[in-house]
């Protein structure tokens, strides 16, 4: 019986193998937030149906997503770290950076607000108060887009965050929110993940609507000169697809049925400074 089971497994495997070997594959490296929000689960099947490509989505931190693309290990990347993206473009690793959409980050903190952050208009001022009070702050510490922004804010605030009040989780946004909640700490999060977790959290929004808290997502194509076997045509097809008017409308409507409000605002065809 065991032998028969294993034989059946092998046959199944063999039948699945040709699909893996077919050349029309696009590798998309992207950030966990686009995957965790469920947006890609909506967009990717439309793209596959329309173009006949098969997409392999690699959802990792933005730092890793961009590094993979810059090495030619992906064909196209969807990221949210404008400064880092521009650096890769300047180095000639990635090209044709185009804005896709945005949402925003918020500074969260415990209801009791021990650092008296509530009421501050800017994230930088809020961070200064957290540091001055030595109140616990949980950082992703994982090189993600959120982490990169957070570090830029500390720099702007003129603070070098350090233990014991500064806690690095080394994990995704969801797990980090859990730790912040548990420690009654402050943290920086994208709004989409916060909305998804709100039921389980006692944390409240302290600062929002500050210009640096805008979360800009861009699509970048991989220069085929970066490595062997880059599917430049496939990467370009995905980039064209995600900034096309029809898909932008899909992005605009995404999340309304679950959260009562859209999670992302479409932004194709605009520049970095056009927002708000």
């Amino acid at each position: 019986m065991l032998v028969r089971l294993l034989a059946a497994a092998l046959v199944l495997l063999a039948s699945g193998a040709p699909a893996a070997a077919q050349p029309r594959v696009v590798i998309l490296s992207t950030t966990t937030s686009t995957q965790d929000s469920g947006l890609l689960d909506v967009l990717v099947p439309i793209f596959e149906q329309r173009t006949g490509y098969t997409v392999r989505t690699i959802a990792v931190g933005t730092g890793q997503a961009l590094a993979l693309a810059a090495r030619g290990e992906a064909d196209v990347t969807l990221a949210h770290a404008p400064a880092l993206e521009k650096k890769y473009v300047a180095e000639g690793k990635l090209r044709n950076r185009r804005l896709v959409m945005y949402n925003d980050f918020v500074v969260l903190g415990p209801e009791a607000d021990p650092a008296r952050v509530r009421g501050e208009r800017t994230a930088v001022a809020a961070f200064r108060r957290v540091a001055a009070a030595g109140a616990p702050f949980v950082s992703r510490g994982d090189g993600s887009g959120t982490n990169i922004l957070e570090l830029a804010l500390w720099k702007e605030a003129g603070v070098t965050p350090a233990a014991p009040w500064y806690i690095e989780s080394g994990q995704g946004m969801g797990a980090t929110l859990g730790i912040a909640d548990d420690r009654r700490a402050y943290t920086l999060t994208d709004r989409a993940t916060f909305l998804a977790f709100r039921k389980r959290l006692a944390l409240a929004i302290m600062v929002e609507g500050d210009r640096p808290l805008l979360n800009l997502y861009s699509v970048l194509e991989v220069d085929p000169a970066n490595g062997p076997r880059v599917n430049a045509a496939g990467g370009r097809a995905f980039a064209e697809f995600i900034v096309s008017p029809g898909v932008q409308r899909v992005i605009e409507a995404f999340g309304v049925d679950t959260y009562g409000r859209p999670l992302f605002v479409p932004l194709a065809g605009r520049g970095d400074d056009d927002v708000k």
């Binding site: 497994a9 495997l13 594959v25 392999r56 989505t57 969801g174 389980r200 076997r229």
Partner: protein
């Protein structure tokens, strides 16, 4: 506690409702880990047997390496296999990274030493005098090895269980070389991490219940075979 009970209930509900995605994930996990176990048996049993019976200089070192390989951290295997399978890596031409085939490769690297190491121990347990006696009675070397393996079949089946149990519950390598792609390389364990990250603790719990049931059923089947042949 309520969450735990809900998880068990939801696992049953998900399966009974014939949730296509969950069944697909379950099928892929069984397929990948089943194939990896099969390949590991094909490699590990001959290697373990040969190592148990042969005497050559440096054998101690090889045996130590196999035994150390039984504890290979999956995440290390994942990293090395990823680098090998990268487009710019030595095996990039295969273009199998982020496919089930890549996960099978990584899981074979994890399971083969487990099977080899346990086979080695099992075969070595068969008394040397018994082997010599077989040869003296006129058995060929191949016949001798066959009889010795038959003698050692109970611990060898234990090696199958250990190998399969190791890879079906492994996460680090599957995540790195598979990429946890929906409908393509999402396995029970990587799906669990994803659902936990999304805050869907109930779905994650349902998947863990499913994993436990699968591991139990497979080991139960193997145990039945093992104990039957023990009589």
């Amino acid at each position: 506690m309520d969450l735990l009970l809900d998880g068990v209930g939801q696992a049953a509900a998900l399966l009974l409702a014939g949730d296509g995605e969950v069944w697909g994930i379950l099928r892929l996990s069984l397929l990948v880990s089943g194939s990896a176990t099969l390949v590991s048996l094909a490699l590990g049993i001959p290697a373990g047997t040969a190592l148990a019976l042969a005497r050559f200089p440096g054998r101690g070192l090889v045996v130590a390496a196999v035994n150390a390989g039984m504890g290979l951290p999956p995440v290390v295997v994942g990293l090395f296999v990823t680098l090998l399978l990268w487009r710019s890596g030595p095996l990039g031409g295969l273009e199998i990274l982020y496919t089930p085939a890549a996960i099978i490769v990584a899981q074979v690297v994890i399971a083969a030493p487990i099977v080899a190491g346990m086979t080695l121990a099992a075969v070595q347990q068969v008394p040397r005098a018994f082997r010599l006696q077989l040869l003296a009675l006129g058995a060929s070397r191949v016949q001798m090895v066959w009889v010795v393996l038959r003698e050692a079949r109970l611990p060898v089946l234990a090696a199958v269980m250990a190998g399969f149990g190791g890879v079906i519950s492994e996460i680090g390598a599957s995540m790195m070389v598979g990429g946890n792609i929906k409908g393509q390389t999402r396995t029970l364990t990587t799906a669990m991490v994803l659902e936990t990250g999304k805050g869907n603790f109930d779905v994650a719990l349902a998947l863990s219940v499913l994993l436990l049931v699968v591991v139990f059923l497979v080991n139960w089947a193997l145990t039945v075979i093992q104990q039957r042949s023990a009589q």
